[in-house]
Structures are given as structure tokens and as C-alpha cells.
């Protein structure tokens, strides 16, 4: 479950990047709003190309500037919970959940529906979901995609404490149970504690 990332990318006149190397299951990117956490996840997912550096997950080199390696997004197996959810508006909740379905993944469909409380929502269109409901569907979709690594960008920001606690438990156990590492973005120190995560401070390299 080794995560070895060292990337830099120029964005709007600033440099955004991080250097990290962890082996603890969950690594939590921590830092103030606008520091570049989402940008880093995008680089890991292959949605933004770093200007330099490398990304290695579990021994697989996803990106290396010097060796000109750049695995395309669809082969990276990143289960990405986007900060802006990005549910597919033309697919019902069920179809959204199953879109990336590959094997059994870290949780089965019924477990995911149960734990995320999506039971009554399966036939709904995303636009009718409340903020927290949409976020839960986004989490479910990523979990069900059978990922090699989970990228979670403030996945619990719109959820109430009871739900949050339940999901923190679920997420904390994923690396242990399935061997899938998690890169977790949050600005809530309490979440990092609850997850037993290694805190990675994202800094301004400038």
C-alpha cells in the first residue's frame, strides 16, 4: 500500500505540488482552502498532467516525467470521489452507482446502499438529490468501481454527524480489509484522527 508521490504543476502563475511517501493505508492531504489539494488528486487520477515528478502507487508507476510514463486515466483504477460530486445527470442513481462497476470492489452493492442510506434513492435523478444525498451517491459510485486506490475529496463535508461517524468507520477499515490505499482530502483534523490517517500537510512550494 505504498503511496509515493512527488509532483509539481504550474497553475495560474503559482506552483502546486506535494512530496509524500507513505505506507499507512490512509493518507490525509491537509491544508487551507486553495492550497492545491484537489489539483493533486487530479494529478493522481490522470486528469491533470504534472509538469514534473512521478506518481507511484503500490509499486505501479502511474506517471513519471523523466521516463515519459503517463498511464491514461481509465487504466489508473482511481476510485475518485470528486469534491463537486460529478454525478451523471442523465443517469438515475442506480446507474450512477453501477457505472464503474468492476468486480466486487471494497464493498458490495447492497452493503454500499445500506451503509450510505441510498435505499429510497435508487430510481431518482441526480438533480433531485439533496447536497448530502448526492455526496453519498458519489462515494458509493467510487467504492463500487473496484479501484486500485481511492481518492476522496472532502467526501463527508455535507453529511450529518451520525452519518459521518458511520462512514468514517467504513472508510477507516477499507485499507485493512481490502488492501486498497486511500488518499483523503479534508480540512477537519478530527476526521484525520478518526481515520487513523497519516497527515500530509500540503504546502505552498513557492
Amino acid at each position: 500500500m505504498l503511496i509515493d508521490i512527488d509532483v509539481r504543476r504550474r497553475v495560474g502563475g503559482r506552483i502546486i505540488g506535494v512530496t509524500m511517501r507513505t505506507d499507512t493505508g490512509i493518507s490525509a492531504l491537509f491544508g487551507p482552502s486553495g492550497i492545491g489539494k484537489t489539483t493533486i488528486l487530479h494529478m493522481v487520477a490522470g486528469l491533470i498532467r504534472p509538469d514534473e515528478g512521478h506518481i507511484r502507487i503500490d509499486g505501479t508507476l502511474l506517471f513519471d516525467h523523466r521516463q515519459a510514463i503517463d498511464i491514461p486515466s481509465k487504466l489508473r483504477g482511481c476510485g475518485y470521489v470528486f469534491q463537486d460530486t460529478r454525478l451523471f445527470p442523465h443517469l438515475r442513481v442506480r446507474a450512477n452507482l453501477l457505472y464503474g462497476r468492476r468486480g466486487e470492489g471494497p464493498a458490495s452493492l447492497s452493503t454500499v446502499i445500506d451503509l450510505l442510506g441510498l435505499d429510497g434513492l435508487l430510481d431518482r435523478w441526480p438533480i433531485t438529490l439533496s447536497g448530502g444525498e448526492a455526496q453519498r451517491v458519489a462515494i458509493g459510485r467510487a467504492l463500487l468501481s473496484g479501484p486500485q486506490i481511492l481518492l476522496m475529496d472532502e467526501p463527508l463535508s455535507s453529511l450529518d454527524d451520525r452519518r459521518k461517524a458511520g462512514l468514517l468507520g467504513l472508510i477507516r477499515d477499507i485499507p485493512r480489509r481490502t488492501g486498497i490505499p486511500i488518499l483523503y482530502v479534508t480540512h477537519d483534523a478530527a476526521e484525520i484522527d478518526a481515520l487513523d490517517a497519516t497527515r500530509i500537510d500540503v504546502l505552498n512550494p513557492a
Binding site: 490522470g46 481509465k74 476510485g79 460529478r86 451523471f88 445527470p89 438533480i127 433531485t128 459510485r141
Partner: protein
């Protein structure tokens, strides 16, 4: 308007067949062109754009004449079609469908392109992270999201085909039962002194047919957006 003569039935059937075939056959081409114009960057893109607009900019008879030069028995494509497939489209309804499709193309491409450009590409990115490659992403995300433009393009294209006259008569002439569509019959009636009554009658038929197509398309569009409105829409 209550009953039609057999000739009128033939004309109506022919017009519908030609317009339907032309629209349906052109749709994938128009989509491909719209996609290329919306998404790709390459030298000569503007030239392609201009070429797509050509049938709109030059008078229809010129388009018909160019088709004649290309697809006539002496034309490069016409000869090739004849040699390899034994097919001639001159004076045939297939030729009329080709002319209609070419004339409808710019309208269809523009409408579809507008929808493709409006696609939120972050959704395509999301699909990629979920393991969907270009092809699956296209079929499951991009294409459905471009559906409004596809539908609008089909409507515009169909209406344009139903009204196509100049390129058709120049290319495949005015042959009853083969290339004599409603607009050509209307034009012929216009040429006849005192033919205004027949012109009106045929034009009304044309309008009624297109209106039915419109209604069908509207219903389809409503079905497609059904249930997708949020509860936040008060209105």
C-alpha cells in the same frame, strides 16, 4: 384536403421516404462533423467548417450542379459507384435523398455542435476515472448529453429535407414517382397559370406533415427530460 389523389399519395410517400432516409442517414455524418469541429484542433479546420456551410451559402442549384458533376454517370464518384456497385443515383429517389441530406447538413451540424460544445467535460473525466475509455465514455456520457442538439438537428434537418427543391431538381430532375417530391410538385404548380389553388393545397399538406414530425419530436424531447427537473424549480 380530405382525400388525396393517387398521384398525391405517391408524392407524399416519396417526400416522407426521402426526408426520413436523408435525415437518418445524414445524422451520424453530421454528428461526426460536429464532433470534429467542436473538439478537434487541426490545420484546415476552418476549411472543413467552410465546406460544411457550402450548401447554405451558394444557391441550391449550384449544389445540385456540383452533385451532378460528382455523381453523374461521367462524374468521379458516379463512375466509381457504377463500376463497383452497379448503382446509379441520377434520376433516382436515392439521388434526391442525397441532395436533401447535403442541403440539410449545415443545419444539423450546427445544432449538434452547439450541444457538444455545451457538454460539461468534467463528467467525461469522471467517466474516465471510473474505467470508461473514450468509446464507452462517448456512448454512455457524451452522446446522451448531446441528445438535445441531436434532436434539434434532426428536426431542422427533416424540415429542410421536406422543403428541399433547388438542388434536387437540378441534380435528379423532376420524375414522377421517383424524384418528384412535394416541393417540386409545388414548384411545378406555381409554374402553371391558375395553379395557386394546387400550390396552397400541396403547401398545406407539406406543412401538416412537418407539423406531425414536430409534434413527435416535441413529445420525444419531453419524454427525455421527464423527471429530470429539480424540486427547486418553482415554475
Amino acid at each position: 384536403m380530405s382525400t388525396f389523389t393517387p398521384e398525391e399519395w405517391t408524392i407524399i410517400g416519396l417526400s416522407l421516404r426521402i426526408s426520413l432516409v436523408a435525415t437518418t442517414a445524414m445524422l451520424p455524418f453530421a454528428f461526426t462533423l460536429a464532433w470534429i469541429l467542436a473538439r478537434w484542433r487541426f490545420p484546415g479546420k476552418l476549411l472543413l467548417d467552410a465546406l460544411v456551410h457550402l450548401p447554405l451559402v451558394v444557391p441550391p442549384v449550384v449544389t445540385g450542379w456540383l452533385l451532378l458533376l460528382l455523381f453523374g454517370a461521367q462524374g468521379p464518384i458516379g463512375q466509381w459507384l457504377h463500376t463497383w456497385f452497379g448503382v446509379t443515383i441520377l434520376f433516382r429517389w436515392t439521388g434526391a435523398a442525397l441532395a436533401a441530406a447535403i442541403m440539410a447538413m449545415p443545419l444539423m451540424v450546427r445544432a449538434i455542435r452547439l450541444s457538444i460544445e455545451a457538454i460539461d467535460r468534467r463528467l467525461e473525466q469522471a467517466a474516465h476515472t471510473l474505467g470508461a475509455g473514450r468509446i464507452r465514455t462517448f456512448w454512455t456520457i457524451s452522446l446522451p448529453l448531446a441528445m438535445p442538439g441531436l434532436l434539434a438537428g434532426a428536426i431542422l434537418g427533416f424540415a429542410r429535407c421536406m422543403g428541399e427543391f433547388g438542388a434536387t431538381i437540378t441534380f435528379v430532375s423532376n420524375i414522377p414517382g421517383e424524384t418528384q417530391t412535394l416541393p417540386i410538385a409545388i414548384h411545378a404548380a406555381m409554374q402553371t397559370p391558375g395553379g395557386e389553388g394546387l400550390v396552397t393545397r400541396l403547401a398545406l399538406i407539406s406543412l401538416a406533415l412537418s407539423l406531425s414530425a414536430l409534434v413527435a419530436a416535441e413529445l420525444l424531447a419531453r419524454r427525455m427530460t421527464r423527471g429530470k427537473r429539480s424540486h427547486v424549480d418553482r415554475y
